[in-house]
């Protein structure tokens, strides 16, 4: 009973807010965003950090943003599963929430994207818009693209363009070992790496290509023994959260000296494991690092002060900035108008000018290769209070990282 009364109040408040919006424009309205990600289970630490990151950026933006709206996050735990994501997505829609964000897991992302698209077809006037801030399966902006899906992270095809354009100039890279999680994302990392490296450095040998179950492996020692036996000089992995933390631990335990090329070494838990010791160099391909000039410096310092944690999800900033710019341009918070305004939108992200490409809703942005090094005067930030951080070794401009799309976007 209590729940249904609360639901009524919320939907009433939303209806009132929308009616008000029609009369007075978007300024002053509250925009509720459903945050759907793992808040329990093996990847809970990542989800918890990113929820805090979104809420933190929302507070910052609520002081001042182009549309003059207030952002508010409502959190839902999807336990990392696509099925659970759909259940909580339904709950969010029932509460009248019109904006959804999710990032951890391309399987869940595909499920949400499909569900949102179907929902919007069937419920005109109740459309929901989906901000994908971290799921990087290229399919989501290619074969399975949706008008209602906007990706803020760079997809795997872009990250691999960037990573291989760095690795091709590293003469010591001769034998590469791939180890990835066995689901959409991990399979794509393996596939795109093999394709791009064959194009840029055909002499590089792939000495191993392992897919392991996601979040299930608690002991990576057998995998590390295999990597050592293969004689690999470099390991490429798209693993994240616990799957990377435990891999790093096992690598250190066995004394692995190969260099690690990763997507997510900066994500919760892994830096602490890296600080305990790691044989080779650890490099990251991502849209950010700890010494990106501009707003990043202030934001990561403030976040550290508030939560004693790291703000590494720059997409939270770009996401709310894009929404706000879109709402200002549309003069409305209605997802239909905002979606139209955001297609092709150019705005100032945390790293400079970025563009939400109209043809597939993939954010076009520069990428960085950074390396795990001891903090110094130029790069003072301390990740997870380790005294180390990720420092730039190469910046890859947006036009190099950009990849074509096969998306046949269907606008309503």
């Amino acid at each position: 009973m209590q729940i249904s009364t609360r639901l009524h109040t919320i939907s009433f408040a939303c209806a009132w807010a929308l009616a008000g919006g029609a009369a007075f424009g978007q300024a002053g309205q509250t925009v509720k965003i459903a945050f759907i990600d793992p808040l329990s289970g093996p990847f809970a630490n990542v989800g918890q950090n990113q929820l805090k990151s979104w809420q933190f950026i929302a507070e910052e933006m609520n002081k001042k943003n182009p549309a003059g709206v207030k952002f508010e996050f409502v959190s839902f735990d999807n336990k990392g599963s696509p099925q659970e994501s759909l259940t909580v997505l339904k709950a969010a829609m029932d509460q009248g929430i019109r904006y959804v964000t999710q990032g951890n897991g391309s399987g869940a992302a595909a499920a949400i994207s499909d569900a949102v698209t179907k929902h919007n077809e069937r419920n005109p006037g109740k459309e929901v818009l989906y901000l994908n801030y971290a799921a990087v399966d290229p399919e989501l902006t290619n074969a399975r693209c949706s008008y209602w899906h906007f990706r803020l992270d760079a997809d795997t095809s872009m990250k691999m363009e960037a990573l291989t354009s760095f690795m091709k100039d590293q003469p010591e890279v001769k034998k590469v070992y791939l180890i990835n999680q066995n689901y959409a994302h991990g399979q794509q990392v393996s596939k795109y790496f093999k394709e791009t490296i064959a194009r840029k450095r055909p002499d590089v040998q792939i000495v191993g290509d392992d897919l392991h179950p996601i979040g299930q492996v608690k002991d990576f020692a057998p995998f590390v023994a295999k990597i050592k036996a293969s004689g690999a000089d470099s390991v490429v992995t798209g693993n994240w959260g616990q799957d990377l933390t435990l891999l790093v631990k096992a690598a250190n335990d066995a004394g692995l000296t190969a260099n690690l090329y990763t997507y997510y070494a900066g994500v919760s838990g892994t830096p602490t494991a890296l600080a305990a010791g790691v044989g080779g160099k650890v490099r990251v391909v991502a849209y950010s690092h700890n010494s990106v000039p501009g707003v990043v410096q202030q934001l990561q310092t403030d976040f550290k002060k508030r939560f004693n944690d790291d703000w590494y999800t720059g997409a939270t900033y770009n996401g709310l900035m894009m929404l706000s710019e879109g709402m200002a341009k549309a003069k409305s918070t209605d997802p239909v108008k905002v979606a139209a305004a955001m297609g092709g939108l150019k705005f100032k992200g945390f790293q400079g000018d970025v563009e939400m490409r109209k043809s597939d809703h993939q954010l076009q942005q520069g990428l960085y290769i950074s390396e795990w090094r001891k903090a110094d005067a130029k790069n003072p930030y301390s990740v997870e209070n380790t005294g180390w951080n990720f420092q730039e070794v190469k910046a890859i401009p947006a036009y190099v990282a950009s990849t074509p799309t096969s998306c046949q976007m269907k606008a309503p």
């Binding site: 093996p42 057998p222 050592k228 036996a229 435990l246 066995a254």
Partner: protein
């Protein structure tokens, strides 16, 4: 396969197997004693890890290793005394169900107390480094204590693999535990009473022994062993709410394969499974490779190629269950079991 890879895979497999044995021994003991398949056994393993984590925060790891098993054992004994004993008279199904329910309650309670995230439970400082290094030089294989020797960096083509001290420590604890339990059961008066109570409870009772108390002691002892495994497993792997689920199923596979109620069977099965899994992960062979060796070439056009080309490393995780099914079909009492089905 080169020798150093073989050795390290064997060691990894043994360490996983021995950890599994610590867990399986308590479960199989309780089963042989009381005929109760304790579904909450892996949950006690988790509680052991969390209690040890909390003790470590206050007074250090060594105290945790000493105190966590008796604390969790006492909890187990209390559960037996006030819950399990009451439903005992209704037969085995209610007993099964009550332990099943307990596993869910423990999971929620653990999440309430320690949160849904993994906690940072580390081995003690003393045991964090490597115990020894396997030095695989192009012409020879050698061992060196402690960190990698200088020869590793100096020689081209040298592969040096370190073996973590805490892993070795966990193996040592498991072996000691096996010895202690075996001596207790076969060489002491308590062991005699326990064994007698197992087969002839009425006779033992009429001799003046308190059989329900013996049951309580065995249940408490079994859960204490699970907690000991938890202290080692939690620090070696990850201490998180899903850790019980991660080992729960495998442990059942172990005691079924080994033979319900057989300590020796549990030992052989857990060590066997650990080693098999470790080598399976390291193997990239598939059925297609095997057939190719026999002269039957497979191409992507062959019918069912997706199945034939699955690598052994990809199915490593399901091998225990495959064995479980095969054992149930061909030898229902298990490798060392004495009773049918």
């Amino acid at each position: 396969m080169d020798l150093s890879f073989f050795l390290i895979s064997l060691l990894n497999g043994l360490s996983v197997g021995l950890l599994l044995f610590m867990l399986a021994s308590g479960l199989t003991l309780i089963f042989s004693m009381m005929g109760v398949l304790n579904f909450a056994h892996a949950s006690f393993y988790m509680v052991g890890a969390y209690v040890a984590y909390s003790i470590t925060q206050v007074i250090g790891f060594w105290w945790a290793l000493l105190l966590a098993p008796p604390i969790v054992g006492a909890l187990g004994a209390l559960f037996e005394r006030y819950a399990l004993r009451r439903v005992h008279k209704f037969g085995h199904v209610p007993e099964l169900l009550i332990t099943f329910g307990l596993s869910y309650i423990i999971l929620e309670v653990v999440q309430l107390i320690w949160g849904r995230q993994a906690v940072n439970f580390q081995p003690p400082e003393l045991l964090r480094g490597p115990l020894f290094t396997i030095v695989d030089l192009p012409d020879a294989l050698r061992f060196a204590w402690g960190e990698k020797p200088a020869v590793c960096a100096a020689t081209a083509g040298a592969v040096c693999t370190t073996f973590p001290a805490f892993r070795a420590f966990g193996m040592g604890v498991a072996v000691l535990m096996l010895l202690a339990v075996w001596l207790l059961l076969t060489k002491t008066r308590i062991g005699l009473v326990i064994q007698a109570a197992l087969t002839h409870p009425e006779a033992v009772e009429s001799l003046g022994h308190n059989v329900p108390r013996v049951f309580m002691g065995v249940f408490g002892g079994g859960t204490a062993l699970a907690a000991l495994a938890g202290v080692i497993g939690g620090a070696l792997r990850v201490t998180e709410p899903s850790m019980a689920l991660a080992v729960g199923a495998v442990v059942f596979a172990v005691i079924v394969i080994g033979g319900m109620g057989s300590l020796a069977g549990a030992f052989v099965a857990s060590v066997g499974l650990g080693v098999i899994e470790s080598f399976a992960v390291g193997s990239d062979h598939s059925i297609a490779d095997g057939l190719a060796a026999l002269g039957l070439a497979m191409t992507p056009e062959t019918f069912g190629f997706a199945v034939w080309s699955v690598k052994l490393s990809q199915v490593a995780a399901i091998l225990p269950y495959l064995l479980l099914v095969l054992i149930l079909i061909f030898r229902p009492k298990g490798l060392f079991g004495t009773r049918e089905g």
